[in-house]
């Protein structure tokens, strides 16, 4: 029992130290998950205690950047949850068209798969040229990968299958070049994409938007931080703008549940009411 108690104290101290030194705020992340991430990092860095890890992180910024890779969870796919993107194409795109220019915020874009999926969808719908996409994340390494748009060919078979199920009008291979076992995404897809460092925990709204996609990010936040994020989204979205969440995420337990209405509830597509 007392060892566990010590671990809990050390984790709080580590998270506080990270906040004070590096301004990354994990204080309102879901406790169970952050504890597992830190314990996993302990094994990777061969640290016996969280205090030992804290000493290294505090005195060596490169160590913090390594730890950050464990604290964030880069799970992503192109055209992930195809039914979801099919619903975006069928239910949201016809309404998006009615705006002369469109701004989209992909919050927590990780390594960019979702950004390129959205860009491909918009190009096929003839909207990409009048759209600006803001793709934000707290992890600089993930953002760098997102900007490069280079993915392993091994995953492309799955992504191509997803693309077809999501209502793709051509072939996914129309949008990348294969080289040395990698798929290099057509760079014109990111002509209108701005990649930026942004934290839902500490930063504020930077633009008015018509659509915000934030998928499988909020599950790592506690209710307080979820409500902060929903507050930012509510402020950023224009009148009747769209919010899309991950397939297991919901506004139901949030203070903002009555400020949005469900457009396609099973696909977590909401509209500002």
């Amino acid at each position: 029992m007392s060892i566990e108690r010590n671990t809990d104290i050390e984790i709080r101290l580590l998270i506080e130290a990270i906040y004070l030194k590096y301004s990354y705020d994990f204080r309102d992340y879901s406790g169970a998950s952050i504890k597992r991430r830190i314990q996993y990092a302990l094994r990777q860095f061969d640290c016996k205690t969280v205090s030992a890890l804290q000493e290294r992180v505090l005195h060596d910024p490169s160590m913090f950047m390594q730890l950050l890779q464990f604290l964030t969870i880069p799970v992503s796919e192109m055209f992930r949850d195809p039914e979801h993107l099919l619903a975006v194409r069928q239910e949201v795109v016809p309404l998006l068209r009615t705006w002369p220019s469109i701004k989209i915020w992909i919050a927590g874009c990780s390594t960019g798969e979702e950004v390129y999926s959205m860009a491909i969808l918009l190009r096929e719908e003839g909207l990409l040229e009048r759209t600006i996409i803001y793709a934000t994340d707290i992890n600089p390494s993930s953002l760098e990968k997102a900007k490069q748009g280079i993915y392993s060919m091994q995953n492309m078979r799955l992504y191509a299958e997803n693309y077809r199920k999501a209502g793709g009008r051509g072939e996914l291979s129309d949008y990348y070049t294969a080289a040395y076992g990698n798929a290099i995404v057509d760079s014109s897809l990111r002509d209108n994409v701005t990649f930026a460092d942004h934290s839902l925990a500490t930063d504020s709204v930077f633009s008015e938007t018509q659509l915000i996609s934030c998928r499988n990010v909020l599950i790592y936040f506690n209710k307080t931080l979820q409500d902060r994020a929903f507050g930012l989204f509510h402020e950023s979205l224009c009148h009747r703008g769209f919010l899309v969440l991950g397939s297991k995420e919901t506004l139901d337990f949030s203070a903002y549940s009555d400020k949005f209405e469900a457009l396609v509830k099973p696909e977590r597509i909401y509209r500002k009411s």
Partner: protein, 191 residues
């Protein structure tokens, strides 16, 4: 056995039948909340909660992120996400890497529930063909909770209960009907 605030259950191969056998023994007014991970194929939608709810005639929900745990309800983990319990007795989902090739993983549920409930948790590990759940059950015991393992000689797949027994000595080793009776005899704490 007094003071059980929550029950965490884990099972894999043969788990639906085993779970139904155990939970059929519970009285309709049973108030202790139950949390369950049953290994599932990675489909996006699962009908497990509906099936269990219909067969057991009690409230069964697929666990939702940030939902508060309510008395008398069975929460089952949906496919593709780990299920955890937070210190404030709410649920959270995550997509961290698989544990024992599984997401949801029994270890993840058990370890987080052990932290959240301490001595107030009862862990139950049933039939299964891999070793998920063994570490989590040991953690429940270590945090002061009670543990039950299905008698491996009577389990449809004995790997999972055997792995648990190799790691720690549970409070009970019982066949399914014995586990059902044990749970039915628990009383929910006064609220």
């Amino acid at each position: 056995m007094n003071g059980v605030q929550a029950i965490a259950l884990g099972a894999s191969a043969g788990g639906v039948t085993a779970l139904l056998t155990v939970l059929h023994a519970l009285p309709p007014a049973f108030r202790i909340p139950m949390l369950c991970v049953l290994h599932l194929p990675d489909d996006r939608h699962s009908h497990l909660a509906e099936v269990l709810g219909r067969r057991l005639k009690r409230p069964v929900h697929e666990a939702r992120d940030k939902e508060d745990i309510a008395p008398g309800t069975l929460y089952v983990a949906g496919p593709g996400y780990h299920l955890s319990v937070e210190r404030d007795h709410s649920l959270s989902l995550s997509q961290e890497e698989r544990v024992h090739f599984s997401r949801p993983s029994i270890d993840v549920l058990f370890e987080s529930a052990a932290d959240a409930y301490g001595p107030g948790l009862l862990g139950v590990l049933l039939t299964g063909a891999n070793e998920d759940g063994a570490h989590g059950l040991a953690r429940i015991k270590q945090q002061g909770g009670r543990t039950v393992v299905q008698d491996p000689s009577q389990a449809q797949a004995s790997t999972m209960p055997r792995a648990a027994l190799a790691l720690h000595q549970p409070d009970y080793i019982l066949p399914l009907n014995g586990i059902g009776q044990l749970l039915a005899s628990l009383e929910a704490p006064e609220c």
